[in-house]
Symmetry: C2
Subunit: 391 residues, 2 copies
């Protein structure tokens, strides 16, 4: 293709990488992936799979040598290695410098604060004393977080009272690992916006989505989020403002809290396509994955407009089930109009592992929610080993 002779290299071959390749294959593009797992979801459709660790400089170098552009599908990579690659002339999007900023949750929040983007109060924690001080300032409960490496709630600790301060500090490796504390926002809704920025500085903000978590894992995304007009306007403005300050090229996810008074705070930025944006594959004119490709290829951005209200539910590995994955309830699911099933093709299931997702679109959001409620308990990912079959 004239606009892309070479291949795109993706660090990571999970479901986000797979869905990115699926969009790229429509355009006839080629993809190389770097992933330690031979059977990772993206492997079956990638042109080349370099089996190796994300922290292995030689493997990253190998990926860079066969790829015209590099991107990544998750943020826990050695950003310094990427900076070195960038310095030697490789194109990496989003920029490793943006990645470094976002990887450290404290620096990320500091960046937001500097740009007058509302966030919960926060402070760096370098000693037990500082954590006690933060508690006095923020009150309880308060959040203690690893500055780097946390995900899906791992690396977060809710400190319920002053009596739990020491326990929390020890649990997260205080003294060894850099920590931060945050005021607890008694939010009534978690929302997010997928945002995109092209090499030509063109910007797109997707509709706000309402995200429901359980044990810190995303379960359901509802689009559009059921917000007051006031909160919806604020959320969109904050997403746009955050995007404008971020110098990154590509798709980002801005996660936000909305409290009872319709105040909106940025909780976190993810420098990549995001689980809460999966609905966009069938819900929007341009999916988050197609959009990311347009961004990094220097193509015009596509419309992020919603085609129809959408509800996405994650298919998590059933509790107590392990081993070879077995999906049940497919027939009931596919009998529903406007339901789209995505199964990532991970060989093995584990409790709460993200194995696939379902998106239901309907001109009426209430109807999409009704269909979601009907199907939620019918589709399950079971394993060959252990557990109840729930059938």
């Amino acid at each position: 293709m004239s606009y892309m002779e070479g291949a795109i290299g993706i660090i990571g071959g999970g479901q986000l990488g797979k869905m990115l390749i699926q969009e790229g294959k429509k355009l006839g593009l080629k993809f190389n992936i770097l992933d330690p797992s031979v059977n990772c979801p993206a492997a079956s459709i990638a042109d080349k799979h370099i089996v190796g660790s994300f922290y292995d400089g030689r493997k990253l170098q190998e990926l860079a040598e066969v790829s015209e552009i590099i991107t990544y599908e998750f943020e826990h990579i050695d950003a310094d290695l990427l900076v070195t690659l960038m310095a030697s002339g490789h194109k990496i999007y989003p920029s490793p410098l943006t990645l470094k900023l976002i990887q450290d949750k404290y620096l990320q929040k500091l960046f937001l604060k500097e740009n007058n983007i509302p966030t919960p109060d926060f402070t760096a924690i370098n000693s037990l004393e500082e954590l006690y001080k933060a508690g006095m300032s923020f009150g309880y409960p308060m959040l203690l977080k690893l500055r780097k490496g946390g995900y899906d709630g791992k690396g977060n600790y809710i400190v319920g009272s002053e009596g739990e301060v020491e326990e929390a500090y020890v649990a997260l490796g205080g003294g060894q690992k850099p920590l931060m504390a945050e005021a607890f926002v008694n939010y009534r809704m978690e929302i997010s916006a997928i945002v995109a920025r092209g090499t030509n500085r063109q910007q797109e903000v997707y509709p706000l989505s309402e995200n429901q978590h359980n044990n810190n894992i995303l379960r359901t995304t509802i689009v559009p989020a059921r917000l007051t007009d006031e909160a919806a306007v604020k959320g969109r403005e904050i997403a746009l403002k955050t995007l404008a300050f971020l110098e990154g090229i590509g798709v980002f996810c801005i996660e936000m809290f909305v409290d009872a008074e319709d105040n909106v705070f940025v909780n976190e930025i993810a420098p990549r396509t995001h689980n809460s944006g999966h609905y966009s594959i069938e819900g929007c004119y341009t999916s988050q994955f197609a959009q990311h490709l347009r961004c990094i290829l220097g193509l015009p951005l596509g419309s992020s407009q919603l085609i129809h209200p959408s509800v996405m539910i994650n298919l998590l590995g059933e509790e107590k089930n392990e081993g070879r994955a077995r999906l049940v309830g497919v027939e009931e699911a596919l009998a529903i109009k406007g339901l789209y099933l995505h199964f990532y093709g991970k060989a093995e299931t584990k409790p709460f592992r993200k194995m696939g997702h379902i998106t239901i679109v309907d001109n009426c959001l209430q109807e999409a929610l009704r269909k979601t409620a009907y199907i939620t308990d019918k589709v399950k990912v079971l394993g060959e080993k252990g557990g109840e079959t729930h059938e």
Copy 2:
């Protein structure tokens, strides 16, 4: 996956096979393809590629042995070899018996006639005398056709007058190859309907599409077809009736003519997904490819309802251009809202070769047509060798 442990085998690895795999990968399915070309479009996303001829019994056997279900993306296959495979227990959809019927255009028309489905008048031609006789009965112009193996107008001959009968007969190999003659329908529109039938006999008929050809190659598909209500009702009824009589499992395309008096005739049945159904990827709730998979896997059929009016244009290799393909006009195209670009990834372009397609969706068909007219001359597939660049 519980509903499909093994792989699906596809005879043919062209764009139809590629788009079938693209849908199947969403579900985590595995695919083997049989195709003589190492760089065929489906190769880059197939799990296994058996390089070989469609007429090679050993290669077909090899495909069958590694595949739980076999399907095909085009009809010019040795159907007797498939019958043998079926007899030895392999699942092949649509049935090789249906394929054999459809492969022979004369038997196909006879089948339609037997079931009172309107077709142009036709007769088998086994001698020059019979062709003269047909001319007297049908008048001129009349169509002379190869009974087997024709496509994109190849194997068809328009006999303009009695003076051209002998020339036409010789040109199509009369005496050596089985021929048929057909009355010429002075149609004002060519339409088609994608139809689907599951293993559970569930049926779906897609909206009627209006097809515009040039040199017998499909250029544009407009959905919904701009028909009178009367013709639209007739077209849908005929498509449903044809599907009901066909015992096949899978997706078929029913091509029809509409004349000035709104009479509708079946022109041809294709036992597979069809170029005129590509619009369904973005235009309908369930694409023709996803539907075909549902059919052959015994899953519930999906809704064939149109989400928004759609116009599809084929991207054909530019005249006088050959060699490595180069797509121009991508930026102009992708700047259009609701435009979807598909580039099949064929290494080499040739004049009029199907290299990709574009679908434009819009809530207003007129607007989709306006966008189509704007972009048609801007997107081109050029080759490195020869020709004007048209730039």
